[in-house]
């Protein structure tokens, strides 16, 4: 959708024109980490891709990555999906899709009391 020929807003130059992630976008609290695999020889990584791989040596959430690179979320989701497609990043922990179990909720509540 939205793929007509008109020029796109500047940040999308980074994503080579892709304006949205395929399928369901990566959740903001999905945790990503580098796979450790070397990039395929012909793959050209943008500085943003490279910086994401650098940061994800340590697990990061999508929201934290967008914040650190100061890129809008939609752009970030596309970049991350590309890195996942090329097996350079992997999902360390998917975001919860429903309300966590009672034990987890109680633990979060108790932890919040101590902050």
């Amino acid at each position: 959708m939205d793929d007509d020929a008109g020029p796109l807003v500047r940040p999308y130059a980074i994503t080579r024109g892709r304006t949205r992630a395929r399928g369901r976008a990566l959740d903001l609290v999905t945790i990503l980490v580098t796979s450790g695999d070397p990039p395929p020889p012909r793959l050209r990584l943008s500085p943003e891709h490279q910086r994401l791989l650098w940061l994800c040596q340590i697990p990061h959430t999508v929201a934290d990555l967008a914040s650190r690179l100061e890129l809008p979320l939609g752009v970030m989701q596309v970049l991350l999906e590309e890195l996942i497609e090329h097996h350079l990043l992997r999902i360390d922990l998917p975001a919860p899709t429903e309300l966590p179990d009672l034990a987890t909720l109680r633990r979060i509540r108790d932890e919040l009391r101590t902050i």
């Binding site: 807003v9 903001l28 609290v29 910086r51 919040l112």
Partner: protein, 198 residues
């Protein structure tokens, strides 16, 4: 670029959970997120609509399809790699596409209410009621606003008696903490489906 460290100082998250902070413009979302968490810059895209076209530079009009908007975002780092992320979401209808994504799997929502503009919170309340998402009402007590009782606010908002209403000060860390703890208590009380087998 090379001065970046992979870590931003906080421990790497092992599990991350979302809380939404919703409410009308000026209800104090930014203040609350700042009071209780490490606030961070976060931008998201907004599709340009006819409503917002007027405020953009006309010369840019032809090449603009989206514009970026700042979002309230903060992180609370708990022990054991547990993190809670707060996302402040504007209450206007044009942001609802964003809520859908944010609300999935969230711990719940805090709907902030400014008693001077009570109707500004109706859309948020309707949204979370319809989704059966755990939410609490947090009434920000501004210095010069008229004090209402919880009952008066409940009547004005027309929310069911099981939805907690907390009168608080969005600037105060302890006060904002109470709101989050109340939300967790409320989520714990949510009726759950009985598992088919144990």
């Amino acid at each position: 670029m090379t001065n970046y460290e992979p870590s931003d100082g906080a421990p790497a998250p092992r599990a991350a959970y979302k809380i939404l902070v919703a409410g009308g413009f000026g209800a104090g979302k930014t203040t609350m997120v700042g009071a209780v968490s490490e606030i961070r810059p976060l931008q998201t895209e907004e599709a340009l609509t006819e409503v917002s076209v007027g405020v953009d530079d006309l010369r840019d009009l032809e090449r603009k399809k989206t514009t970026t908007v700042a979002m309230d975002f903060g992180r609370i780092t708990l022990s054991g790699g547990l993190s809670v992320y707060l996302f402040g979401t504007p209450g206007q209808e044009r942001f609802w596409f964003m809520w859908e994504e944010l609300a999935r799997g969230a711990l719940g929502a805090v709907v902030m209410v400014d008693t001077r503009r009570i109707t500004a919170s109706f859309a948020s309340i309707d949204y979370f009621e319809q989704r059966a998402e755990p939410f609490v009402i947090a009434v920000n007590r501004f210095d010069h606003s008229i004090e209402y009782t919880e009952d008066e606010i409940r009547t004005a908002l027309d929310v069911s008696p099981d939805i907690p209403i907390i009168l608080f000060d969005a600037r105060d860390r302890e006060s904002a903490k109470v709101v989050l703890i109340e939300l967790l208590e409320h989520a714990i009380r949510q009726p759950r489906e009985v598992p088919a087998r144990l």
